[in-house]
Amino acid sequence: MNKVLILAEHNGQQINQSTAKVLSAAKQLSDASIDVVLFTGDKSVADQVAQFSGVNKVNAVVCQDNHDQLAASIAPTVAEMAQGYSHIWGPSTTFGKDVMPRVAALLGVNQFSDIMEIIDAKTYKRPIYAGNAIITVTSDSEQQVATIRTASFSADKTSDGQAEVVVSELTTMAQHTTFVTLESGNTDRPDLQTASKVISGGRGVGSKENFAMVFELADKIKAATGASRAAVDAGYVPNDMQVGQTGKIIAPDLYMCFGISGAIQHLTGIKDAGTIVAINKDADAPIFEVADIGLVGDLFKVIPEMIEKV
């Protein structure tokens, strides 16, 4: 039997979709028994996880002073809990990437990062070189620590589960690390990592002010908004909008990008999108090599026309 412990992610009120995706991945293992561990200031979030079918137990570890955000505080508890589990998995989000390697180090194993496909209980596929190569990788370790590439798995949508919730207090607070603030660029728009439609802008958009046009089109079709690294570096938009190798890896049904040339680091973030639409004035831009639909044109004319016509 495969015994899986999933590290859940949430924002204090809502379970992050990444948790439902890790759960989907875990359900692909044969004969899997799945438990979840969740660190939280408010244990009501645990009830959301308990509703997923196929989850047996939710370990809600209550943390004070935002220690639920700190890898050094929570990893030792995950590692303690991991005894007896064959798979200890978390999402390949900034949260999971911060915590899971610490868990792996405490358990004395290398981690499988960004699993995109499960071959069997000890063999997986994952991308390297910004997705330019895919490796099949295995380990005979009794404890398989991994992060799950969220763009590769659909979110589990079950809601008829009745997992047992076991509440405890965090006892492994790191004294040397303190949470100060989280400055969120959050808007009312759909979440970039889970939205079915994403509108993105790049350096070609030209300024922070011009991005208003991108936002307007996004709002018109209820899309999330993203950006290339160049647009973030130039200060047009905040960092949480960055899509790519070092930003967010996304898989919307529709990805429409304006003024993005298509560096390989950006393409790796959108490869799993259903339909990629590229609008760029340069007909030779590499983005057109991956686009399903391309339009060579001036975004300053195309966006207003689209706003009018959609």
Binding site: D98, R102, G108, F179, I276
Partner: protein, 250 residues
């Protein structure tokens, strides 16, 4: 305070890596090699901290083949004071890299360790976190801003939700994100000067012979699934019609 910066020799970020036809690896013969870009940012940050008078010495360390000396020399040309090559012909995995770096830390006693958040070859994003764990010290990962305080330092981290700030006591491990700084260009006289700076080579088994045996085994390499060739449209009308037909716009 000493700052230790760990760097890795990787295929240059501009190279489009190709999987070998027999699936045994990626083609690296004759390909341009560079310092991992995130590690170059780590070197730059260490130098800036030293230039602010908050550190006395910047030591760069790399684990790899003799050829990694080139990347260490580049870091010396940027301004690092001395370099250590932990020499091994075998590729090391993150846990082993962290174990080796811990030995270097024990020897050098740095007040701060800075390294890139991930190497752009394996894209693992594990070594800094593992090192902080084995060292039993705090970590600040994916950092875009560092500010020293009375107790240690405040680090701004690029996280999915935005920008998170944490405060950590020193010594600590920082892993760099892209917007922390823009590395300086190396000038020719600096390259000449760097040739005279100390570069020590230590065999991996002499410093960390008791490394863990646990490893992941790569069974095969394959190129990514290509996307099917797309089509070009001539007008916004055509585009909108097509997206409506696909059910992507209502």
């Amino acid at each position: 305070m000493k700052i230790l910066v760990a760097i890795k020799r990787v295929v240059d970020y501009n190279v489009r890596v190709q999987v070998k036809p027999d699936g045994t690896g990626v083609a690296t013969d004759g390909v341009k090699m560079s310092i991992n870009p995130f590690d170059e940012i780590a070197v730059e940050e260490a130098l800036r901290i030293k230039e602010q008078g908050k550190a006395d010495e910047v030591i760069v360390v790399s684990i790899g083949s003799e050829e990694s000396q080139q990347q260490l020399r580049t870091a010396l040309a940027m301004g690092a004071d001395r370099a250590i090559l932990i020499n091994t012909a075998q590729a090391v995995q993150p846990l082993q890299a962290a174990q080796v770096l811990l030995k270097v830390i024990e020897k050098e006693q740095p007040g701060l360790v800075i390294t890139g958040k991930q190497a752009i070859d394996d894209d693992n994003n594990q070594t800094p976190q593992m090192l902080a764990t084995l060292w039993n010290r705090p970590q600040a990962t994916f950092v875009s801003k560092v500010e020293f305080t009375d107790n240690g330092l405040k680090a701004t981290r690029e996280v999915d939700a935005g920008l998170e700030t944490i405060e950590v006591e020193l010594p600590a491990v920082i892993s760099t994100d892209l917007r922390l700084n823009t590395p300086r260009f190396v000038k020719l006289p600096d390259i000449m000067k760097a040739k005279k700076k100390p570069l020590e080579t230590i065999d991996i088994n002499d410093i960390a012979g008791d490394r863990s045996e646990q490893k992941l085994t790569i069974k095969s390499y394959e190129p990514p699934q290509p996307r099917t060739k797309g089509i070009m449209v001539e007008s916004v009308d055509e585009l909108v019609t097509m997206l409506k037909e696909k059910g992507l716009l209502s």
